[in-house]
Symmetry: D2
Subunit: 145 residues, 4 copies
Protein backbone atom coordinates (compact mmCIF):
# COMPACT_ATOMS: atom_id res chain seq x y z
CA UNK A 1 0.00 0.00 0.00
CA UNK A 2 1.32 3.40 -1.00
CA UNK A 3 0.50 4.80 2.45
CA UNK A 4 3.24 2.68 3.94
CA UNK A 5 5.55 5.08 2.17
CA UNK A 6 3.86 8.05 3.83
CA UNK A 7 6.44 10.62 4.78
CA UNK A 8 6.23 13.53 7.17
CA UNK A 9 6.81 15.99 4.33
CA UNK A 10 3.65 14.78 2.58
CA UNK A 11 1.43 16.34 5.25
CA UNK A 12 0.72 20.04 5.33
CA UNK A 13 -0.24 20.25 9.01
CA UNK A 14 1.50 18.49 11.90
CA UNK A 15 -0.05 18.24 15.35
CA UNK A 16 2.05 17.05 18.30
CA UNK A 17 0.20 14.71 20.68
CA UNK A 18 1.42 13.50 24.04
CA UNK A 19 0.83 9.78 24.46
CA UNK A 20 -0.78 8.59 27.69
CA UNK A 21 -0.18 5.72 30.08
CA UNK A 22 -3.35 3.97 29.05
CA UNK A 23 -2.81 4.34 25.32
CA UNK A 24 -0.79 1.14 25.76
CA UNK A 25 -2.83 -2.02 26.00
CA UNK A 26 -1.96 -5.33 27.63
CA UNK A 27 0.50 -6.10 24.82
CA UNK A 28 2.52 -3.00 25.69
CA UNK A 29 1.81 -0.94 22.57
CA UNK A 30 -0.63 1.79 21.69
CA UNK A 31 -3.95 0.08 21.08
CA UNK A 32 -5.22 0.15 17.49
CA UNK A 33 -8.33 2.06 18.57
CA UNK A 34 -6.34 4.91 20.07
CA UNK A 35 -4.90 5.93 16.69
CA UNK A 36 -8.37 7.09 15.71
CA UNK A 37 -8.50 9.33 18.78
CA UNK A 38 -5.23 10.90 17.59
CA UNK A 39 -6.82 11.50 14.18
CA UNK A 40 -9.97 13.00 15.71
CA UNK A 41 -7.95 15.27 17.94
CA UNK A 42 -5.66 16.54 15.20
CA UNK A 43 -8.51 17.31 12.81
CA UNK A 44 -10.68 19.02 15.39
CA UNK A 45 -7.81 21.08 16.77
CA UNK A 46 -7.21 22.33 13.23
CA UNK A 47 -10.91 23.01 12.55
CA UNK A 48 -11.24 24.94 15.82
CA UNK A 49 -7.99 26.87 15.81
CA UNK A 50 -7.64 27.57 12.09
CA UNK A 51 -11.21 27.13 10.77
CA UNK A 52 -13.02 28.80 13.64
CA UNK A 53 -15.32 25.83 14.35
CA UNK A 54 -17.32 26.41 17.53
CA UNK A 55 -17.89 22.91 18.93
CA UNK A 56 -19.89 24.21 21.91
CA UNK A 57 -22.50 26.47 20.34
CA UNK A 58 -21.92 26.64 16.59
CA UNK A 59 -24.59 25.59 14.10
CA UNK A 60 -22.09 23.47 12.11
CA UNK A 61 -21.27 19.97 13.31
CA UNK A 62 -18.95 17.45 11.64
CA UNK A 63 -20.18 13.84 11.57
CA UNK A 64 -17.80 11.02 10.72
CA UNK A 65 -19.33 8.67 8.14
CA UNK A 66 -16.38 6.39 7.47
CA UNK A 67 -12.85 5.83 8.74
CA UNK A 68 -9.96 3.46 8.25
CA UNK A 69 -6.37 2.91 9.31
CA UNK A 70 -3.39 0.80 8.29
CA UNK A 71 -0.78 0.03 10.94
CA UNK A 72 2.89 -0.36 9.95
CA UNK A 73 4.91 -0.15 13.17
CA UNK A 74 4.03 -0.07 16.86
CA UNK A 75 4.22 2.93 19.17
CA UNK A 76 4.34 2.88 22.95
CA UNK A 77 3.77 5.41 25.70
CA UNK A 78 5.70 7.57 26.62
CA UNK A 79 6.94 8.10 23.07
CA UNK A 80 6.26 11.50 21.52
CA UNK A 81 4.28 11.52 18.28
CA UNK A 82 2.95 13.88 15.67
CA UNK A 83 -0.14 13.53 13.53
CA UNK A 84 0.18 14.62 9.91
CA UNK A 85 -2.97 15.90 8.22
CA UNK A 86 -3.90 16.73 4.64
CA UNK A 87 -7.15 17.01 2.71
CA UNK A 88 -7.66 14.54 -0.13
CA UNK A 89 -11.11 15.65 -1.35
CA UNK A 90 -13.23 18.66 -0.56
CA UNK A 91 -16.88 18.58 -1.59
CA UNK A 92 -19.86 20.84 -0.97
CA UNK A 93 -20.69 19.45 2.46
CA UNK A 94 -18.05 16.80 3.04
CA UNK A 95 -14.30 16.45 3.29
CA UNK A 96 -11.95 13.48 3.18
CA UNK A 97 -8.88 13.71 5.39
CA UNK A 98 -5.69 11.70 5.12
CA UNK A 99 -3.65 11.31 8.27
CA UNK A 100 -0.49 9.64 9.46
CA UNK A 101 1.27 9.07 12.77
CA UNK A 102 4.98 9.84 13.08
CA UNK A 103 7.31 9.22 15.95
CA UNK A 104 9.42 12.18 16.98
CA UNK A 105 12.16 12.69 14.45
CA UNK A 106 11.13 9.89 12.09
CA UNK A 107 10.35 10.52 8.44
CA UNK A 108 8.22 7.41 7.81
CA UNK A 109 4.76 6.89 9.23
CA UNK A 110 3.88 4.25 11.85
CA UNK A 111 0.29 4.30 10.64
CA UNK A 112 -1.79 5.99 7.96
CA UNK A 113 -5.52 6.56 8.01
CA UNK A 114 -8.35 8.52 6.53
CA UNK A 115 -11.84 9.63 7.45
CA UNK A 116 -14.75 11.54 5.99
CA UNK A 117 -16.59 14.36 7.73
CA UNK A 118 -20.03 15.41 6.58
CA UNK A 119 -20.92 18.81 7.96
CA UNK A 120 -24.52 19.13 9.13
CA UNK A 121 -26.71 21.74 10.75
CA UNK A 122 -26.75 21.01 14.49
CA UNK A 123 -30.48 21.53 14.91
CA UNK A 124 -31.67 19.45 11.95
CA UNK A 125 -28.78 17.05 11.27
CA UNK A 126 -29.09 18.01 7.56
CA UNK A 127 -25.95 18.41 5.44
CA UNK A 128 -25.05 22.02 4.69
CA UNK A 129 -22.55 23.79 2.47
CA UNK A 130 -19.27 24.10 4.31
CA UNK A 131 -19.09 27.70 5.60
CA UNK A 132 -16.40 30.02 4.20
CA UNK A 133 -14.06 30.05 7.20
CA UNK A 134 -13.97 26.27 7.40
CA UNK A 135 -13.66 25.91 3.63
CA UNK A 136 -10.68 28.25 3.55
CA UNK A 137 -8.95 26.27 6.30
CA UNK A 138 -9.63 22.96 4.53
CA UNK A 139 -8.58 24.29 1.14
CA UNK A 140 -5.20 25.19 2.61
CA UNK A 141 -4.63 21.47 3.27
CA UNK A 142 -5.32 20.32 -0.29
CA UNK A 143 -2.25 19.03 -2.14
CA UNK A 144 -2.75 21.63 -4.84
CA UNK A 145 -2.90 24.48 -2.32
CA UNK B 1 -22.65 0.03 0.28
CA UNK B 2 -23.88 -3.46 0.91
CA UNK B 3 -22.89 -3.23 4.55
CA UNK B 4 -25.61 -0.66 5.11
CA UNK B 5 -27.93 -3.59 4.59
CA UNK B 6 -26.13 -5.57 7.27
CA UNK B 7 -28.66 -7.51 9.30
CA UNK B 8 -28.37 -9.13 12.67
CA UNK B 9 -29.01 -12.54 11.17
CA UNK B 10 -25.89 -12.20 8.99
CA UNK B 11 -23.61 -12.50 12.02
CA UNK B 12 -22.85 -15.83 13.64
CA UNK B 13 -21.81 -14.46 17.03
CA UNK B 14 -23.48 -11.64 18.95
CA UNK B 15 -21.86 -9.96 21.93
CA UNK B 16 -23.89 -7.59 24.15
CA UNK B 17 -21.99 -4.49 25.27
CA UNK B 18 -23.14 -1.95 27.82
CA UNK B 19 -22.54 1.58 26.62
CA UNK B 20 -20.86 4.03 28.99
CA UNK B 21 -21.40 7.64 29.96
CA UNK B 22 -18.28 8.77 28.19
CA UNK B 23 -18.92 6.85 24.98
CA UNK B 24 -20.93 9.94 24.07
CA UNK B 25 -18.92 12.90 22.89
CA UNK B 26 -19.77 16.60 22.99
CA UNK B 27 -22.31 16.11 20.19
CA UNK B 28 -24.29 13.67 22.34
CA UNK B 29 -23.65 10.48 20.38
CA UNK B 30 -21.21 7.63 20.67
CA UNK B 31 -17.91 8.90 19.30
CA UNK B 32 -16.73 7.31 16.05
CA UNK B 33 -13.58 6.03 17.75
CA UNK B 34 -15.51 4.10 20.38
CA UNK B 35 -17.04 1.74 17.78
CA UNK B 36 -13.59 0.25 17.31
CA UNK B 37 -13.38 -0.47 21.03
CA UNK B 38 -16.66 -2.37 20.71
CA UNK B 39 -15.16 -4.38 17.84
CA UNK B 40 -11.95 -5.11 19.77
CA UNK B 41 -13.91 -6.20 22.82
CA UNK B 42 -16.25 -8.50 20.92
CA UNK B 43 -13.46 -10.23 19.00
CA UNK B 44 -11.23 -10.70 22.01
CA UNK B 45 -14.05 -11.96 24.20
CA UNK B 46 -14.74 -14.59 21.55
CA UNK B 47 -11.05 -15.50 21.13
CA UNK B 48 -10.62 -15.88 24.89
CA UNK B 49 -13.87 -17.62 25.79
CA UNK B 50 -14.30 -19.81 22.73
CA UNK B 51 -10.79 -20.01 21.24
CA UNK B 52 -8.88 -20.30 24.52
CA UNK B 53 -6.59 -17.34 23.83
CA UNK B 54 -4.50 -16.52 26.92
CA UNK B 55 -3.92 -12.77 26.69
CA UNK B 56 -1.84 -12.70 29.89
CA UNK B 57 0.74 -15.43 29.36
CA UNK B 58 0.06 -17.15 26.04
CA UNK B 59 2.65 -17.28 23.28
CA UNK B 60 0.09 -16.19 20.65
CA UNK B 61 -0.72 -12.52 20.26
CA UNK B 62 -3.08 -10.91 17.74
CA UNK B 63 -1.86 -7.68 16.12
CA UNK B 64 -4.28 -5.47 14.20
CA UNK B 65 -2.81 -4.45 10.85
CA UNK B 66 -5.80 -2.65 9.34
CA UNK B 67 -9.29 -1.59 10.35
CA UNK B 68 -12.23 0.36 8.96
CA UNK B 69 -15.78 1.34 9.79
CA UNK B 70 -18.80 2.83 8.06
CA UNK B 71 -21.34 4.67 10.19
CA UNK B 72 -25.03 4.60 9.24
CA UNK B 73 -26.97 5.80 12.28
CA UNK B 74 -26.01 7.28 15.62
CA UNK B 75 -26.12 5.55 19.00
CA UNK B 76 -26.15 7.22 22.40
CA UNK B 77 -25.47 6.09 25.96
CA UNK B 78 -27.35 4.53 27.77
CA UNK B 79 -28.71 2.55 24.79
CA UNK B 80 -28.03 -1.19 24.80
CA UNK B 81 -26.16 -2.58 21.84
CA UNK B 82 -24.88 -5.85 20.44
CA UNK B 83 -21.83 -6.46 18.28
CA UNK B 84 -22.23 -8.96 15.48
CA UNK B 85 -19.13 -10.87 14.39
CA UNK B 86 -18.29 -13.15 11.49
CA UNK B 87 -15.09 -14.23 9.79
CA UNK B 88 -14.66 -13.20 6.16
CA UNK B 89 -11.25 -14.75 5.42
CA UNK B 90 -9.09 -17.16 7.35
CA UNK B 91 -5.46 -17.55 6.29
CA UNK B 92 -2.46 -19.33 7.74
CA UNK B 93 -1.55 -16.63 10.23
CA UNK B 94 -4.19 -13.97 9.70
CA UNK B 95 -7.94 -13.52 9.87
CA UNK B 96 -10.30 -10.86 8.58
CA UNK B 97 -13.31 -10.11 10.76
CA UNK B 98 -16.52 -8.39 9.75
CA UNK B 99 -18.47 -6.69 12.49
CA UNK B 100 -21.61 -4.66 12.92
CA UNK B 101 -23.29 -2.73 15.73
CA UNK B 102 -26.98 -3.29 16.44
CA UNK B 103 -29.25 -1.49 18.84
CA UNK B 104 -31.31 -3.71 21.07
CA UNK B 105 -34.12 -5.24 19.07
CA UNK B 106 -33.17 -3.71 15.73
CA UNK B 107 -32.46 -5.84 12.67
CA UNK B 108 -30.39 -3.30 10.73
CA UNK B 109 -26.89 -2.24 11.71
CA UNK B 110 -25.95 1.27 12.92
CA UNK B 111 -22.39 0.68 11.76
CA UNK B 112 -20.38 -1.99 10.00
CA UNK B 113 -16.64 -2.52 10.18
CA UNK B 114 -13.84 -4.94 9.61
CA UNK B 115 -10.34 -5.56 10.82
CA UNK B 116 -7.44 -7.93 10.24
CA UNK B 117 -5.55 -9.77 12.96
CA UNK B 118 -2.14 -11.22 12.28
CA UNK B 119 -1.19 -13.73 14.94
CA UNK B 120 2.43 -13.55 16.04
CA UNK B 121 4.67 -15.23 18.55
CA UNK B 122 4.82 -13.00 21.64
CA UNK B 123 8.56 -13.31 22.14
CA UNK B 124 9.65 -12.68 18.55
CA UNK B 125 6.73 -10.78 16.98
CA UNK B 126 6.96 -13.21 14.03
CA UNK B 127 3.78 -14.46 12.35
CA UNK B 128 2.87 -18.04 13.22
CA UNK B 129 0.33 -20.56 12.04
CA UNK B 130 -2.90 -20.06 13.91
CA UNK B 131 -3.04 -22.77 16.61
CA UNK B 132 -5.73 -25.44 16.38
CA UNK B 133 -7.99 -24.19 19.17
CA UNK B 134 -8.10 -20.68 17.77
CA UNK B 135 -8.52 -21.95 14.21
CA UNK B 136 -11.48 -24.06 15.21
CA UNK B 137 -13.14 -21.09 16.91
CA UNK B 138 -12.55 -18.86 13.89
CA UNK B 139 -13.66 -21.49 11.40
CA UNK B 140 -17.00 -21.65 13.21
CA UNK B 141 -17.58 -18.01 12.24
CA UNK B 142 -16.99 -18.50 8.51
CA UNK B 143 -20.12 -18.09 6.37
CA UNK B 144 -19.67 -21.59 5.01
CA UNK B 145 -19.41 -23.08 8.48
CA UNK C 1 -11.08 0.86 55.91
CA UNK C 2 -14.70 -0.11 56.38
CA UNK C 3 -15.29 -0.01 52.65
CA UNK C 4 -13.06 -3.02 52.22
CA UNK C 5 -15.88 -4.88 53.89
CA UNK C 6 -18.35 -3.54 51.32
CA UNK C 7 -20.81 -6.23 50.40
CA UNK C 8 -23.14 -6.49 47.47
CA UNK C 9 -26.18 -6.45 49.77
CA UNK C 10 -25.16 -2.98 51.05
CA UNK C 11 -26.03 -1.38 47.72
CA UNK C 12 -29.58 -0.66 46.72
CA UNK C 13 -28.98 -0.50 42.96
CA UNK C 14 -26.78 -2.83 40.94
CA UNK C 15 -25.75 -2.06 37.37
CA UNK C 16 -24.07 -4.74 35.23
CA UNK C 17 -21.23 -3.45 33.07
CA UNK C 18 -19.42 -5.38 30.38
CA UNK C 19 -15.67 -4.90 30.63
CA UNK C 20 -13.75 -4.04 27.46
CA UNK C 21 -10.50 -5.15 25.90
CA UNK C 22 -8.82 -1.86 26.62
CA UNK C 23 -9.99 -1.58 30.22
CA UNK C 24 -6.87 -3.68 30.88
CA UNK C 25 -3.62 -1.76 30.90
CA UNK C 26 -0.10 -2.98 30.23
CA UNK C 27 -0.06 -4.81 33.57
CA UNK C 28 -3.01 -6.94 32.49
CA UNK C 29 -5.63 -5.56 34.90
CA UNK C 30 -8.35 -2.97 34.67
CA UNK C 31 -6.63 0.40 34.93
CA UNK C 32 -7.36 2.40 38.10
CA UNK C 33 -8.84 5.22 36.01
CA UNK C 34 -11.42 2.99 34.40
CA UNK C 35 -13.19 2.31 37.70
CA UNK C 36 -14.34 5.91 37.68
CA UNK C 37 -15.89 5.40 34.26
CA UNK C 38 -17.84 2.47 35.72
CA UNK C 39 -19.05 4.75 38.52
CA UNK C 40 -20.02 7.53 36.10
CA UNK C 41 -21.89 5.09 33.90
CA UNK C 42 -23.82 3.46 36.73
CA UNK C 43 -24.90 6.76 38.27
CA UNK C 44 -25.93 8.34 34.99
CA UNK C 45 -27.81 5.25 33.84
CA UNK C 46 -29.79 5.43 37.07
CA UNK C 47 -30.39 9.19 36.81
CA UNK C 48 -31.60 8.84 33.22
CA UNK C 49 -33.66 5.67 33.50
CA UNK C 50 -35.12 6.14 36.97
CA UNK C 51 -34.77 9.89 37.59
CA UNK C 52 -35.74 11.08 34.13
CA UNK C 53 -32.57 13.15 33.60
CA UNK C 54 -32.36 14.42 30.01
CA UNK C 55 -28.64 14.66 29.31
CA UNK C 56 -29.20 15.98 25.79
CA UNK C 57 -31.59 18.89 26.27
CA UNK C 58 -32.55 19.12 29.95
CA UNK C 59 -31.90 22.24 32.01
CA UNK C 60 -30.38 20.20 34.85
CA UNK C 61 -26.75 19.12 34.62
CA UNK C 62 -24.74 17.19 37.22
CA UNK C 63 -21.16 18.39 37.79
CA UNK C 64 -18.71 16.21 39.68
CA UNK C 65 -16.86 18.25 42.31
CA UNK C 66 -14.92 15.48 44.06
CA UNK C 67 -14.31 11.77 43.68
CA UNK C 68 -12.22 9.01 45.25
CA UNK C 69 -11.67 5.29 45.06
CA UNK C 70 -9.97 2.57 47.10
CA UNK C 71 -8.83 -0.56 45.28
CA UNK C 72 -8.85 -3.94 47.05
CA UNK C 73 -8.49 -6.58 44.36
CA UNK C 74 -7.77 -6.51 40.64
CA UNK C 75 -10.23 -7.16 37.83
CA UNK C 76 -9.40 -8.09 34.25
CA UNK C 77 -11.30 -8.08 30.97
CA UNK C 78 -13.32 -10.14 30.03
CA UNK C 79 -14.62 -10.61 33.58
CA UNK C 80 -18.22 -9.57 34.20
CA UNK C 81 -18.80 -6.96 36.88
CA UNK C 82 -21.58 -5.09 38.60
CA UNK C 83 -21.51 -1.60 40.08
CA UNK C 84 -23.32 -1.14 43.38
CA UNK C 85 -24.76 2.29 44.09
CA UNK C 86 -26.27 3.96 47.14
CA UNK C 87 -26.76 7.56 48.26
CA UNK C 88 -24.88 8.63 51.38
CA UNK C 89 -26.05 12.27 51.62
CA UNK C 90 -28.71 14.20 49.79
CA UNK C 91 -28.66 17.99 50.06
CA UNK C 92 -30.57 20.78 48.37
CA UNK C 93 -28.49 20.86 45.21
CA UNK C 94 -25.91 18.13 45.77
CA UNK C 95 -25.71 14.41 46.36
CA UNK C 96 -22.95 12.12 47.58
CA UNK C 97 -22.89 8.65 46.04
CA UNK C 98 -21.15 5.57 47.37
CA UNK C 99 -20.24 2.91 44.85
CA UNK C 100 -18.52 -0.43 44.73
CA UNK C 101 -17.39 -2.86 42.05
CA UNK C 102 -18.27 -6.55 42.35
CA UNK C 103 -17.20 -9.44 40.20
CA UNK C 104 -19.99 -11.69 39.02
CA UNK C 105 -21.16 -13.83 41.89
CA UNK C 106 -18.84 -12.36 44.52
CA UNK C 107 -20.17 -10.81 47.72
CA UNK C 108 -17.14 -8.63 48.55
CA UNK C 109 -16.15 -5.55 46.59
CA UNK C 110 -13.00 -5.26 44.48
CA UNK C 111 -13.10 -1.50 44.88
CA UNK C 112 -15.19 1.12 46.66
CA UNK C 113 -15.55 4.75 45.72
CA UNK C 114 -17.61 7.86 46.14
CA UNK C 115 -18.33 11.08 44.31
CA UNK C 116 -20.34 14.25 44.71
CA UNK C 117 -22.64 15.69 42.09
CA UNK C 118 -23.72 19.31 42.26
CA UNK C 119 -26.71 19.91 40.04
CA UNK C 120 -26.61 23.18 38.12
CA UNK C 121 -28.71 25.00 35.57
CA UNK C 122 -27.23 24.24 32.14
CA UNK C 123 -27.46 27.81 30.85
CA UNK C 124 -25.97 29.58 33.89
CA UNK C 125 -23.92 26.87 35.64
CA UNK C 126 -25.58 27.98 38.91
CA UNK C 127 -26.58 25.37 41.51
CA UNK C 128 -30.32 24.67 41.64
CA UNK C 129 -32.62 22.71 43.90
CA UNK C 130 -32.71 19.12 42.75
CA UNK C 131 -35.99 18.69 40.79
CA UNK C 132 -38.66 16.39 42.21
CA UNK C 133 -38.22 13.46 39.81
CA UNK C 134 -34.48 13.31 40.42
CA UNK C 135 -34.92 13.79 44.16
CA UNK C 136 -37.37 10.92 44.36
CA UNK C 137 -34.97 8.64 42.50
CA UNK C 138 -32.06 9.64 44.75
CA UNK C 139 -34.10 9.34 47.94
CA UNK C 140 -34.86 5.74 47.02
CA UNK C 141 -31.13 4.98 47.29
CA UNK C 142 -30.70 6.41 50.80
CA UNK C 143 -29.97 3.80 53.48
CA UNK C 144 -33.04 4.88 55.40
CA UNK C 145 -35.29 4.54 52.35
CA UNK D 1 -9.76 22.73 51.10
CA UNK D 2 -6.19 23.93 50.93
CA UNK D 3 -5.73 22.29 47.54
CA UNK D 4 -8.02 24.87 45.96
CA UNK D 5 -5.15 27.23 46.60
CA UNK D 6 -2.75 24.92 44.76
CA UNK D 7 -0.32 26.96 42.71
CA UNK D 8 1.94 25.95 39.88
CA UNK D 9 5.01 26.89 41.91
CA UNK D 10 4.07 24.29 44.56
CA UNK D 11 4.86 21.41 42.20
CA UNK D 12 8.39 20.32 41.51
CA UNK D 13 7.69 18.58 38.19
CA UNK D 14 5.42 19.84 35.42
CA UNK D 15 4.30 17.63 32.56
CA UNK D 16 2.56 19.17 29.52
CA UNK D 17 -0.34 17.10 28.19
CA UNK D 18 -2.24 17.71 24.98
CA UNK D 19 -5.97 17.42 25.51
CA UNK D 20 -7.97 15.28 23.07
CA UNK D 21 -11.26 15.63 21.28
CA UNK D 22 -12.90 12.96 23.36
CA UNK D 23 -11.65 14.24 26.72
CA UNK D 24 -14.75 16.44 26.50
CA UNK D 25 -17.99 14.74 27.43
CA UNK D 26 -21.54 15.58 26.39
CA UNK D 27 -21.50 18.66 28.63
CA UNK D 28 -18.57 20.11 26.68
CA UNK D 29 -15.89 19.87 29.37
CA UNK D 30 -13.17 17.41 30.19
CA UNK D 31 -14.87 14.48 31.92
CA UNK D 32 -14.04 14.02 35.61
CA UNK D 33 -12.61 10.56 34.88
CA UNK D 34 -10.09 11.89 32.39
CA UNK D 35 -8.23 13.90 35.05
CA UNK D 36 -7.06 10.62 36.53
CA UNK D 37 -5.59 9.61 33.17
CA UNK D 38 -3.63 12.87 33.20
CA UNK D 39 -2.33 11.99 36.68
CA UNK D 40 -1.40 8.44 35.64
CA UNK D 41 0.40 9.71 32.56
CA UNK D 42 2.39 12.38 34.37
CA UNK D 43 3.53 10.04 37.15
CA UNK D 44 4.49 7.21 34.82
CA UNK D 45 6.32 9.49 32.42
CA UNK D 46 8.38 10.70 35.36
CA UNK D 47 9.00 7.18 36.71
CA UNK D 48 10.11 5.97 33.28
CA UNK D 49 12.16 8.94 32.13
CA UNK D 50 13.70 9.99 35.42
CA UNK D 51 13.41 6.88 37.60
CA UNK D 52 14.27 4.30 34.93
CA UNK D 53 11.10 2.23 35.43
CA UNK D 54 10.82 -0.45 32.73
CA UNK D 55 7.08 -0.95 32.28
CA UNK D 56 7.56 -3.65 29.63
CA UNK D 57 9.97 -6.10 31.23
CA UNK D 58 11.01 -4.73 34.64
CA UNK D 59 10.42 -6.68 37.85
CA UNK D 60 8.97 -3.61 39.60
CA UNK D 61 5.34 -2.70 39.02
CA UNK D 62 3.38 0.16 40.61
CA UNK D 63 -0.17 -0.66 41.73
CA UNK D 64 -2.59 2.12 42.59
CA UNK D 65 -4.35 1.41 45.90
CA UNK D 66 -6.26 4.67 46.35
CA UNK D 67 -6.89 7.88 44.44
CA UNK D 68 -8.94 11.05 44.75
CA UNK D 69 -9.54 14.35 43.01
CA UNK D 70 -11.20 17.69 43.75
CA UNK D 71 -12.41 19.74 40.80
CA UNK D 72 -12.35 23.56 40.97
CA UNK D 73 -12.79 24.81 37.41
CA UNK D 74 -13.61 23.16 34.10
CA UNK D 75 -11.23 22.55 31.22
CA UNK D 76 -12.16 21.87 27.61
CA UNK D 77 -10.37 20.46 24.59
CA UNK D 78 -8.37 21.89 22.81
CA UNK D 79 -6.98 23.83 25.78
CA UNK D 80 -3.35 23.15 26.70
CA UNK D 81 -2.69 21.92 30.21
CA UNK D 82 0.16 20.93 32.50
CA UNK D 83 0.13 18.41 35.31
CA UNK D 84 2.05 19.38 38.45
CA UNK D 85 3.51 16.56 40.50
CA UNK D 86 5.10 16.32 43.94
CA UNK D 87 5.64 13.54 46.44
CA UNK D 88 3.87 13.92 49.78
CA UNK D 89 5.05 10.73 51.51
CA UNK D 90 7.67 8.19 50.61
CA UNK D 91 7.66 4.87 52.46
CA UNK D 92 9.55 1.62 52.06
CA UNK D 93 7.37 0.19 49.32
CA UNK D 94 4.80 2.92 48.71
CA UNK D 95 4.59 6.55 47.68
CA UNK D 96 1.84 9.15 47.87
CA UNK D 97 1.73 11.64 45.02
CA UNK D 98 0.00 15.01 44.95
CA UNK D 99 -0.99 16.34 41.58
CA UNK D 100 -2.72 19.33 40.10
CA UNK D 101 -3.94 20.41 36.68
CA UNK D 102 -3.07 23.85 35.36
CA UNK D 103 -4.21 25.58 32.21
CA UNK D 104 -1.48 27.09 30.11
CA UNK D 105 -0.24 30.23 31.76
CA UNK D 106 -2.48 30.03 34.84
CA UNK D 107 -1.05 29.99 38.35
CA UNK D 108 -4.04 28.38 40.11
CA UNK D 109 -5.06 24.78 39.68
CA UNK D 110 -8.27 23.63 37.96
CA UNK D 111 -8.14 20.39 39.94
CA UNK D 112 -5.99 18.77 42.59
CA UNK D 113 -5.64 15.08 43.28
CA UNK D 114 -3.56 12.44 44.92
CA UNK D 115 -2.86 8.75 44.61
CA UNK D 116 -0.83 6.03 46.26
CA UNK D 117 1.42 3.59 44.44
CA UNK D 118 2.52 0.38 46.10
CA UNK D 119 5.46 -1.13 44.27
CA UNK D 120 5.32 -4.89 43.91
CA UNK D 121 7.35 -7.63 42.32
CA UNK D 122 5.79 -8.40 38.94
CA UNK D 123 6.00 -12.18 39.28
CA UNK D 124 4.61 -12.48 42.82
CA UNK D 125 2.58 -9.27 43.32
CA UNK D 126 4.32 -8.90 46.70
CA UNK D 127 5.39 -5.44 47.91
CA UNK D 128 9.11 -4.77 47.66
CA UNK D 129 11.47 -2.04 48.79
CA UNK D 130 11.53 0.72 46.23
CA UNK D 131 14.73 0.26 44.20
CA UNK D 132 17.43 2.92 44.42
CA UNK D 133 16.93 4.54 41.03
CA UNK D 134 13.20 4.98 41.61
CA UNK D 135 13.73 6.13 45.19
CA UNK D 136 16.17 8.79 44.08
CA UNK D 137 13.71 10.08 41.49
CA UNK D 138 10.87 10.16 44.03
CA UNK D 139 12.99 11.77 46.73
CA UNK D 140 13.70 14.63 44.35
CA UNK D 141 9.98 15.44 44.38
CA UNK D 142 9.65 15.65 48.17
CA UNK D 143 8.98 19.16 49.49
CA UNK D 144 12.09 18.99 51.61
CA UNK D 145 14.26 18.01 48.67
Amino acid sequence: MADAQAQRSDYRYLQPITTRWHDNDIYGHVNNVTYYSYFDSAVNTYLIEVGGLDIHHGQVVGFVVSSSCDYFASIAFPERIEVGLRVAKLGNSSVQYELAIFKDGEAHACAAGRFVHVFVERSSNRPLSIPDNLRAALTALLPSA
